[in-house]
């Protein structure tokens, strides 16, 4: 009962947030609604018992992708009014693609009697643990390979964007900490009425 209640809560907020993503005028609001949609989709995953996927959705999509979108929207000077101009022109295409997707969903919905029943695996192992168990044993080779690919991405991004600029004053921590009292200050005893004589 309470699960059904939460399902409808999450599902309706997801749909509303999705609508707001495409209809709100301010692109920053769109991204924020997208994040809301992600959170509620994660809630739906939790209801399905896929807590690992839910966590992944929050960590990857909310934590990285949506923040990236937010940066792009806020930092790039994109004229969103111009982007909206083709709305009428692209409407038929969009409706066509949407119609196909809707037809597919309806097809699945009305043929769901033929679908295999979802089998609930009753065991003590949570699916995060189960995934970890095969990821770090059976698939350790692929796991390491994925690590190398990520390393390539990191090195590549740095190698392509890091430019050494000349004539830039940088903080040199080593030389700062190497400063001693002796070579940076000088104690001068000043006789009265004469002032400091610079040597």
């Amino acid at each position: 009962m309470i699960e059904t209640l939460f399902f409808y809560l999450f599902a309706s907020i997801t749909c509303l947030a999705g609508l707001m993503v495409i209809s709100s005028r301010n692109p920053v609001h769109s991204v924020l609604f997208l994040i809301l949609a992600f959170f509620n989709a994660a809630g739906l995953f939790v209801l399905l018992g896929a807590e690992f996927l839910a966590m992944l959705l929050v960590v990857v999509y909310v934590g990285a992708v949506a923040v990236l979108f937010l940066f792009v929207v806020m930092m790039l000077d994109i004229n969103f009014v111009e982007l909206r101009e083709g709305f009428q022109r692209y409407m038929p295409l969009g409706l066509g693609v949407g119609g196909v997707l809707l037809a597919e969903i309806l097809f699945v919905f009305f043929n769901s009697a033929d679908m295999p029943e979802t089998v609930v695996m009753v065991n003590e192992v949570s699916n995060t643990r189960a995934l970890g168990r095969i990821l770090y044993t059976d698939y350790i080779y692929l796991f390491q390979l994925a690590g190398l690919i990520l390393l390539v991405a990191m090195i590549g991004a740095i190698a392509l964007t890091l430019r050494k600029r000349e004539n830039v004053r940088r903080q040199s921590i080593a030389s700062q900490t190497e400063r001693t009292r002796a070579d940076s200050i000088e104690v001068v005893s000043v006789p009265s009425n004469t002032g400091v004589k610079r040597s």
Binding site: I155, G156, A159, L160
Partner: protein, 485 residues
């Protein structure tokens, strides 16, 4: 349980490259960009390739599957790995300290080594997942080093173009892989093969195979998936182009051979049509496209497309003889490529690299040795006996004829006649035209050594073809494909 001694030994070259690459990352970060540290980084990279190559001799030559079926090793794969490592060694060695268009960064060596690691891993792939991971580990560093010269618009264009089209081809490959998985129920090559043997090929499976082959055809730059090649070859810094021309193609052809002759051996009638179409298109595009080129690197791009067409002709035969022909072809290909690019890398005028065909005019009077070397490589690529390129073409066309693909062999011979035109034009430029502005005469020792080694192999191929033939024919017996249909 997983990391037994056997596992360790079978993947030894990969371990060496991975460890050296990770060490280079740290070294590059701490030693800076001075000339001395650049030399040191390059030296260590060369040692890494050398050690990895040396270990290919102690790899087991009988078929072995490790990492729970994700990684395979056998005589054929070891041979191809050896070729890739020779190619990577040459490509790394022929870059001297004078190059400054991005390749002087120590990251270049790190990325190149990781790309080589990716090539070895994709050669050894025995599972759709490890195939894709190896392929991406090979491609991603290559995208980056194509764009390494951040000051040049052409280099950035090359990197971006390569990346976008590469992403598209990866998408096609993944789509094909998902269909193959869906219709066979497994990602492991052995199980896919046995599923095909039991159930035959459904239409979904064949669509998946076609998509997979298209994705791989992009990596070997076979027409009609060749569009990126001339632009990337031209725009990328010349040392990077040399690498592109030598190593990755060998790895991609090896993967293509492994997938077609091992996994889809039972449905070869289906994939042979695709490979024949790719082969004919590549031979034609390579031969006709190169005629109008004025840039040496662009010309080499079309030349490599044509070479891939010839190699695919051997692959299209679908026999062990064809597989051996492809192995011989790739062997000659890396030596001709390394030799040619060692000369292109030496071409400088007033210290600046030049790459126009017209810069070669009268090379024979100013640089007789370079001109002789280039002449031999051009004759060899055109397929003039008794040079290496002749034997390579001989064995692939022989396999095609024996498999009953006589029209394909005829088209191949005709296009290589057309191709001879632009190879001979270079020789005419070098020997029968007057010097306009002479090129610099100082030449790095490394390039002269690579040139000499490639020259010796190309000229004396006659004497090694006998044992090489035995060797490749034996290695090809690893494929579960026997004679012609």
């Amino acid at each position: 349980m997983l990391f037994t001694q056997m596992t360790f030994q079978a993947a030894l070259p990969e371990y060496i490259l991975a460890v050296v690459a990770l060490g280079l990352v740290l070294m590059a970060a701490f030693t800076g960009e001075s000339l001395g540290s650049r030399r040191l980084v390059k030296m260590i990279a060369l040692l890494g390739y050398g050690f990895a190559f040396a270990t290919t001799f102690i790899l087991p030559s009988e078929s072995q599957v490790i990492f729970l079926g994700l990684f395979k090793i056998d005589g054929f794969l070891v041979y191809m790995k050896g070729l890739v490592l020779i190619g990577a060694f040459f490509a790394c060695w022929m870059v001297d300290e004078d190059w400054s268009d991005g390749v002087e960064k120590p990251e270049y060596q790190v990325l190149m080594m990781l790309a080589t690691l990716g090539m070895l891993l994709m050669i050894s792939a025995n599972d759709l997942i490890s195939l894709f991971m190896g392929l991406e580990l090979q491609s991603l560093p290559l995208y980056v080093i194509a764009a390494m010269n951040t000051r040049s618009l052409k280099s950035s264009e090359a990197g971006l173009k390569y990346f976008l089209l590469g992403a598209l081809s990866s998408g096609m490959l993944l789509y094909g892989a998902s269909l193959i998985y869906g219709f066979s129920g497994s990602t492991q090559f052995g199980e896919i093969a046995s599923s095909i043997a039991q159930n035959g090929a459904s239409s979904g499976m064949i669509i998946g195979v076609v998509f997979l082959l298209s994705g791989l055809a992009f990596k070997v730059s076979a027409a009609p998936f060749h569009m990126w090649t001339p632009d990337v070859y031209e725009g990328a810094p010349t040392p990077v182009t040399a690498l592109f021309a030598i190593a990755p193609k060998v790895a991609a052809i090896a993967l293509l051979l492994n997938v077609t002759h091992f996994v889809f051996a039972d449905i070869r009638l289906e994939w042979m049509q695709v490979i024949i179409a790719l082969s004919v298109a590549s031979m034609a595009v390579g031969a006709f496209g190169a005629i109008m080129q004025k840039d040496l690197k662009r010309m080499m791009a079309y030349s490599s497309i044509a070479h891939m067409g010839y190699a695919l002709a051997g692959l299209a035969a679908g026999t062990q003889q064809g597989a051996a022909g492809v192995m011989i072809y790739m062997t000659t290909y890396i030596f001709m490529g390394a030799g040619t690019f060692s000369i292109i890398l030496m071409m400088r005028r007033d210290g600046l690299p030049v790459q126009k065909l017209s810069d070669l005019a009268g090379l024979s009077s100013t640089h007789p040795y370079w001109a002789f070397g280039l002449m031999v490589f051009m004759f060899s690529m055109a397929g003039i006996p008794p040079l290496a390129g002749f034997f390579a073409k001989w064995y692939v066309f022989l396999a095609a004829v024996n498999a009953g693909l006589i029209p394909l062999a005829i088209i191949g011979v005709l296009t290589s006649v057309i191709g001879a035109f632009y190879y001979l034009r270079i020789i005419k430029l070098m020997y029968f035209e007057d010097v306009d502005q002479p090129l610099d005469t100082n030449a790095p020792t490394e390039n002269i050594i690579i040139l000499s080694v490639s020259l010796i192999v190309t000229i004396l191929f006659l004497f090694i073809i006998g044992p090489l033939r035995e060797w490749t024919y034996f290695a090809a017996t690893n494929f579960p494909i026997s004679g012609a249909l």
